[in-house]
């Protein structure tokens, strides 16, 4: 498996096949027991050396309920203290505007909808300023309508952010719509299979009704099924 700069890569696979474990290894929370892990072409054996280098966003938004939206987003800055606070605040304000969250900075997470909280969690992840982002089913806990709305939002926003993303999902349409490539993971010693998504960018959420998209989806679903059984 490899990830190139600026790519959006999805990982799909049955529950329990180790997708989240893979993320925890990449983020530096766990040590790998076999194989090899390279960062920028260098072997990285010590998991703690990766802590703080890779942004990780779990399924739950994990916003701190006693902090306002602004203070939640300032958390990565507080931990690293790189640059002045005024600059950090200004950056976050700009990002809030771009994310369609203007006017929420003084509110507490409990006062916001699930979709907004998820966007704020993503903003906080981005504010950490790491090249690689690991998103572990970020939309998994949302209802279908909010999820679709966030896809639309993410597609519009993504090209301008120039981030490298690894994305775990169970939703094949979501994977096809957002990714450049998809890795199919199977449990045990099955390993991973690669699946390219050759749909041109910029993409649009209506593309999932086009024949080409439907054919890709069918193909992906069949391969996923084969990889499981």
């Amino acid at each position: 498996m490899n990830v190139r700069r600026g790519e959006f890569i999805s990982i799909v696979g049955a529950s329990g096949c180790g997708k989240s474990t893979l993320f925890k290894i990449i983020a530096g929370l766990l040590r790998h027991t076999g194989g090899e892990l390279k960062v920028h072409g260098m072997i990285s054996d010590d998991p703690s050396s990766r802590l703080g280098q890779v942004a990780y966003m779990p399924q739950q938004d994990l916003l701190l309920p006693w902090r306002t939206v602004m203070d939640n987003c300032l958390l990565p800055w507080e931990l690293k203290r790189k640059g002045s606070k005024a600059v950090a605040v200004k950056n976050i304000r700009e990002m809030l505007d771009r994310f369609g969250l203007e006017g929420t900075e003084r509110l507490y997470p409990q006062e916001l909808s699930g979709g907004m909280r998820q966007r704020i969690a993503m903003l906080r992840t981005l504010a950490a300023g790491n090249e690689l982002m690991l998103l572990d089913e970020p939309f998994g806990a949302l209802d279908a309508i909010t999820k679709r709305e966030l896809h639309r939002w993410l597609l519009e926003l993504w090209s301008s952010l120039k981030q490298t993303v690894l994305f775990i999902t169970h939703d094949l349409e979501e994977a096809l719509l957002l990714s450049d490539r998809i890795y199919l993971m199977s449990g045990g010693s099955g390993g991973v299979q690669e699946f390219s998504v050759d749909i041109p960018r910029p993409r649009h959420y209506r593309m999932n009704y086009e024949p080409k998209f439907i054919a890709l989806r069918e193909n992906l679903e069949r391969r996923l099924h084969e990889s499981i059984y």
């Binding site: 990780y56 994990l62 006693w66």
Partner: protein
């Protein structure tokens, strides 16, 4: 607006006030009928009279003495309790070593230990503070320790991936959600402090409300004894309410609504 405030006040405290009034009236009536001798159960009015007669001695000497023991003991309990609770949270070996000891320390009957305290500290302020400390530090340790574990592993992992140190994780994600639990511990501890100080004075001393109440009981001056007990209880309530107020202010300031 005023009407509705007094109405909620009546709804919240009305039943309690009514019960107290009825009990006091019944008590007074029973004493007036001389159903029980005054040295066994003095009338509420007699207690009040005793309180007024002895007020210089009670408020001038014994209350400040007890208050000093309580406050010193509480500050020590709170400081050591929070430190121990945090230390046990941060260093697992410390937890494994100390937790059983802490529980054992709470099973020791204090009264049995008191002669030793008197031998160690004499009839000084510190022998009472030691009793106060032993009764009151445990709830703070447990409140701190349990509170710090509340935030769970997920926040910890998130902060680790953001490059946080252990102390940053403690400060940013573990202390704020621990505050309600810490304050529960402090409230319990404050009440225990008053009890501890009273026990300490009973065991040996020359000042304080506990000492006074014991001396009066020995003289069969029940009204004076009850007056001191009433003051002790009032002291406990006021100090408890003070912690409640502090909790409200701090939790609101930290954005932790309850």
């Amino acid at each position: 607006m005023r009407v509705s405030i007094s109405r909620t006040f009546l709804r919240d405290y009305g039943p309690f006030a009514l019960l107290v009034l009825v009990t006091l009236a019944g008590w007074e009536f029973a004493a007036w009928l001389k159903l029980v001798p005054a040295f066994i159960l003095p009338a509420p009015t007699a207690i009040w009279t005793a309180l007024m007669e002895q007020k210089e001695l009670l408020f001038g000497e014994h209350l400040p003495a007890t208050l000093q023991e309580v406050l010193l003991g509480f500050v020590l309990s709170a400081a050591c309790g929070m430190l121990l609770g945090t230390g046990m949270h941060m260093f697992t070996p410390l937890e494994k070593a100390l937790y059983p000891l802490l529980v054992i320390s709470q099973t020791i009957p204090l009264i049995a230990l008191s002669p030793i305290f008197i031998m160690w500290f004499g009839y000084t302020l510190w022998s009472k503070v030691a009793v106060v400390f032993l009764t009151a530090f445990f709830p703070v340790v447990v409140g701190t320790f349990d509170g710090l574990r509340k935030s769970g592993a997920m926040y910890k992992e998130l902060l680790l991936t953001l490059g946080a140190t252990r102390w940053q994780i403690l400060r940013k994600t573990q202390i704020p959600p621990a505050l309600p639990s810490l304050f529960s511990g402090l409230k319990l501890s404050m009440v225990y402090c008053v009890i501890g100080a009273t026990i300490g004075e009973w065991l040996g001393g020359s000042r304080g409300l506990g000492y006074f109440s014991r001396r009066m009981a020995g003289n069969l001056q029940s009204a004076e004894m009850f007056a001191a007990v009433f003051l002790l209880s009032a002291l406990g309530i006021i100090l408890f309410l003070f912690i409640v107020l502090l909790e409200k202010i701090i939790l609101q300031k930290r954005g932790i609504h309850r």
